[in-house]
Symmetry: C2
Amino acid sequence: MLATTLQGVRDIRFTTVPDPEISRPTDAIVKVAASCICGSDLWNYRGENSIRPGMTIGHECLGIVEEVGGEVSSFRPGDFVIVPFCHSDNTCPACRAGVTSACVDGGFTVSGQGEYARVNHADGSLVAIPADPAPELLASLLALTDVMATGWHAAVSAGVRPGGTAVVVGDGAVGLCGVLAAATLGAARVVAMSRHAPRQALARRFGATDIVASRGEQGEAEVLELTDGVGADAVLECVGTDETMRTAFAVARAGATVGFVGVPHGVNLPVRRMFDRNIGLAGGVAPVRAYLPELLPLVLGGAIDPGQVFDATLPLAESAEGYRLMDEREAIKVFLQP
Amino acid sequence: MLATTLQGVRDIRFTTVPDPEISRPTDAIVKVAASCICGSDLWNYRGENSIRPGMTIGHECLGIVEEVGGEVSSFRPGDFVIVPFCHSDNTCPACRAGVTSACVDGGFTVSGQGEYARVNHADGSLVAIPADPAPELLASLLALTDVMATGWHAAVSAGVRPGGTAVVVGDGAVGLCGVLAAATLGAARVVAMSRHAPRQALARRFGATDIVASRGEQGEAEVLELTDGVGADAVLECVGTDETMRTAFAVARAGATVGFVGVPHGVNLPVRRMFDRNIGLAGGVAPVRAYLPELLPLVLGGAIDPGQVFDATLPLAESAEGYRLMDEREAIKVFLQP
């Protein structure tokens, strides 16, 4: 098949790779109908993670079941499905505890920016959606495979409650979905930290009541001023650097929780501040599958429209250009059409 | 007055110091009727914190109100009171959020092992108790000023729930109170990590169902075996070293929370493990005042008896010997009688 591959730092090629195959009877192969590029793909693209030249890349896709293993009972070829980026048997103790992203026998989508993707534990991972959704719905459904579920996880982990104050650190697609999540969960005040006008505008559309464009200590001071010096009831950390994590803890009120979903890179947690101020940390890899029963109806019913995070669309074969757009922050998030 | 002072590393003297005075109209002076030594006092005693030679020491006491400032309305001289080790106005946003230990105008008891102690914000900090409690009740009431409330905070922060599994890391007095808290909050299985027979015995009396005597990787393996390889639903970290924190995260199941109350010293939090396994961290300085309305009836009604952590009693004037006993682990916790 043809798939997006990473050959080296900033070297994306759409090229021929072996077709994914059913390797265990619980697997399924999905023909990709819509795909996209994730902010976390940029860690690999920029060489900030160790990479294997020629590796396929892409973990966000939805599509049509092409083939199922002998033990798959809930899906059959032709079904339209959402593919959570992390797969799960949905029966192990971690899954039963709601943490499908830590399934004892889990896995990840690894060729989501290709023609086909393999899904481990298809019965436990996939969620059926109506066939041939309208294009604007397709984008929002695709967002449920990772970015919207991840923003939701940040908000839930941070303990966003109706009437409270939430601060979102990070204006990438995940951060913007975090704004949408915090507003949907009822936060009365949602502060988006963003210094890019198009992202500020989308944050407003998603429910942000305040924008703080400054970063670092100045940004922290501005957020504290907005919250009467107290800090926020809930903080969503949607980047994963040491600086953004420091900001997250700086703007949290005593007793608050930082919900973190940005893959941590070089983060040293301020344990003494956490202790002295009773500021907790929760979150991690989003358990997408666990949230879908709640999120899918919100999308299908039109209550949320996370597909707005896509501000560029390219043919799958031009995925390299998509990476360039996101790397240079010319696009928030790139939708890829097979 | 006479008070316990720290003159240098492992140099405790009971000596004359200036009487504490009403410095603000919201202050009160309490005549100490019972006091004790805290595990965290040993950080100072051993010189692991920076110390000021001649400083008074001791933050756990209860006693009789001796004098109140002009704005104190809820207490008067002669009242028998519990003195939470951290003081709070009980009206600021942090206090209203339940985190009285992060009060914007808080303070700490600093001469609890002396004849008198000053309390900031007496109205917001103190809690009245019956006059002249019986000796065995006195010990349990004294435990509410810090150690029992701190163990409770570990259990609450860790999210102990009825029917779940809890692991307590640390067999100091706080850890043992953590066992009592986890059992009281309904954990079906409470694993105490302890290698000292007298502490194991007290842990059993407090409700531990299992004891793991090994430490480090061996101890972690044994806890995981007890929990079918899954890890515990809630972990109470009651020491504060890097090793014990690592153990806490190693024995937590995916999606669990580590409740930490041991003052962190040299701790590097395993942020990547926390992220990959969705293991949260919550806790910190215990908001004693906030828990007293819940804990005081449990003690007065006989439901809990945390005073059992005291296994040695000395006259206040012999506090130096008390420090030696605790430093050398000859005593779990030392009760001091004025």
